[in-house]
Symmetry: C2
Subunit: 436 residues, 2 copies
């Protein structure tokens, strides 16, 4: 079981060299290095019905005023406000109904003195009218009604262009297409939308200890949870990964797979093989590919050995193989890169503060503690989702956020306010707010 | 254009009767009435690869301990801690490496005094060993190394079962299947998962004024934005709606469509036709169907005329036709009902507090102001997303949250803390925290 030294890569010496060369950088620096290397993905035009969840590659302009005409806010009667002057409980004013319009219809009736047109919510006001009397404010009979108060000009009227003027930028390029954006696109008749293509992301996991999910456990082995997990993390961003399989800890097959994936994909994610062990080949693979290593050590727990490299074809994310490390590495590094690739202008994890519910010890590195962030009657609270070690799989399952605990501090006490990063939201922050 | 009075339903009288009968209730009461009528959807068993985003219909139990064996946290050497006693800078202790194991392999080597086994992160500790010496803490040559500090029992060892014990409930029934839950399911070999079926939701929009998205505008007409918008809101919950089309304001076709939809679907959503206008047929349709109207007026803006009814087949959501009313009505009422239907134990919109960035006026009803909720270096801030009227479509496009402004208050000033409901998150709150 001893190593054969005949490969061109001396593992023992290689590992030691890597240990010596690893200069940890802050998470902020690491993210910044990645973001500088992001290339934008090509644009495509898709039907509106498929656009939800994508990112706008063009601003949405108001093609016309919204509303496109003066419209009634309520069901009632369109009148000339001047005719209502002086109406009061003791001196009601009577109106005759000369026409009725539903939403979508227009009335060409000409309003004379004390004439009214029955109008529905959303309908266009007849030319001469400038106010709407709510149905509830009248005493009505078949073709007439009385009012007991006066109405001001434009009362209960939604003015042409008050929501948006023709030519206004309604939604900026780089926005996520939420249901509300869909509503605006529909309003302006956008049957098709320009969006960034979905990135092609290759995913492979390394580790001779990994069994398929359907395989019974064997001594020393564990099931591959990173593959399905990262797949789900990618899906949450709308990306269906190109699954490249589980690789044994073998430098040759690693090299060939990663090299091919880098050619075929916009980004490649690997898990495992980035540590300093004898079977951690990824650093050597990246080197052999001629990839530029952006960093191979980050001042963070878990995931300090996360290694990110870059070739002309795109980014290579070497996530650490422990489930929590892999999970955190994805959310901190892969997520913003992919979102920036598709042009999102809010690619960073959403940031908040919350009240800590238990004492937490600090570490020399910044900790990203998988946590439960929860509404309470007094605001948001946050507490660790469980066992806080890099190989904990239960904590990532229960958590919906990370508590960020800066390195080298005294730790935090229950009741203190801590920084929190939220998971599971499409759109995040415009900036990275964590300072280390 | 006057109404023909020969239909069996006298509209003018009908409308007046409805006005008189509408007793507004609070949002909290309205939600509570709906939630009492929710029937759980049937269960299905799906492959793990399709489970992301669904809701667990069974708890996830630890099928075995996690980790399943004592494993090394680091790359290094497995030793007997007793052999390290007394090691120090001035008196290093030397060890001989008698075997090497990679993750996934096991070593059967028997450790004698000052013997060690080279071990990788994640690998099972050899029987006799009880500590791991980190590679970085050694001075190594080919088959031996020295240490300059002692190691305690179980140092750098991840203990069998420390993350989870066999039989533990790891994830509760009713949890949303996040990427972290996927990791746990994979860890325990769940190739298939029990989840609630996706509900069948019928969607139809009413309004003679509505044009299809692809149609040029005509006088008095607007494009149907509610159909695409509510479709996207449903998709955000993982539900592909059954699209039943745009209906003219005609009681007969409304009745037939809604009646059929109620039979075929677990829930039916309509937009428009719930107000008090002559063409607002939905209340009459619900009555004719023999549906129990849970409420037809809510103390909220926008969307006060939202009407929810119930038949033996399921819930009928009559959302108001204005885009903002429809949007808010969906998030407040439809969303929790659908999530409860599929068994989610966190069906309510996530609640938070944030610092208001501009003055806001109160109304007699509780306002749900479409707002932008944003990270800032000092925590989260919130401000209105734009024009705050029920027919505003731009505000729903820009917003990612609702500011909740209780009715009958003085209003709020810039800098004050306000209640916020967050949009776009799968999993919400266990409770509804807004009190009115």
């Amino acid at each position: 079981m001893f190593l054969i030294e005949s490969t061109h890569y001396s593992l023992e010496r290689g590992s030691l060299a890597i240990i010596e060369n690893r200069n940890p950088i802050t998470v902020k620096e690491a993210i910044s290095k990645i973001m500088k290397k992001v290339d934008k993905i090509q644009i495509e035009i898709i039907p509106l019905s498929e656009a939800a969840g994508r990112v706008l590659a063009e601003p949405v302009l108001a093609i016309h005023d919204v509303p496109p005409f003066n419209r009634s806010i309520y069901d009632g009667y369109a009148v000339r406000s001047v005719d209502t002057t002086g109406a009061a409980s003791h001196s009601p004013i009577a109106f005759t109904v000369i026409d009725r319009i539903a939403a979508g219809d227009v009335s060409t009736a000409l309003l004379g003195k004390n004439k009214a047109v029955r109008i529905m919510t959303g309908a266009e006001l007849p030319k001469e009218s400038d106010a709407v009397v709510m149905l509830e404010e009248t005493v009505s009979s078949e073709d007439s009604f009385t009012i007991r108060k006066s109405f001001t000009q434009l009362e209960n009227v939604s003015l042409k262009g008050e929501d948006a003027k023709k030519g206004d930028v309604i939604i900026e390029k780089g926005s996520h297409i939420t249901p509300g954006v869909i509503a605006v696109l529909a309003t302006f008749g956008y049957t098709h939308v320009k969006v960034a293509k979905r990135p092609v992301v290759g995913l492979l996991v390394t580790g001779s200890e990994l069994l398929d999910v359907s395989t019974p456990l064997k001594p020393g082995k564990i099931r591959n949870s990173n593959g399905p997990m990262v797949t789900a993390q990618l899906k949450r961003l709308g990306v269906e990964p190109r699954w490249l399989g589980v690789l044994d800890d073998d430098i040759e097959s690693c090299y060939l797979s990663v090299k091919q994936a880098a050619k075929d994909c916009d980004a490649v994610i690997t898990t495992g093989g980035v540590s300093v062990g004898d079977f951690d080949y990824l650093p050597a693979v990246f080197e052999r590919m001629g990839a530029e290593v952006l960093f191979n050590k980050v001042k963070m727990r878990p995931g300090s050995v996360t290694t990110v490299a870059h070739t002309d074809n795109g980014l290579l994310f070497g996530l650490s193989g422990n489930p929590s490390s892999s999970f955190v590495g994805f959310e901190l590094f892969v997520r913003p890169a992919l979102l920036a690739m598709i042009g999102s202008n809010k690619p960073y994890l959403p940031y908040n503060k919350a009240v800590l519910q238990e004492d937490l010890q600090a570490n020399s590195f910044t900790q990203f503690i998988r946590a439960i962030y929860e509404s309470s009657p007094t605001g948001v609270i946050v507490y660790p989702a469980g066992f806080n070690k890099s190989n904990s799989v239960t904590s990532i399952a229960r958590g919906n956020s990370f508590i960020v605990l800066p390195g080298g501090t005294e730790g935090y006490k229950k009741g203190e306010i801590v920084d929190v990063l939220l998971l599971g939201l499409d759109e995040g922050g415009e900036n990275w707010f964590i300072h280390e």
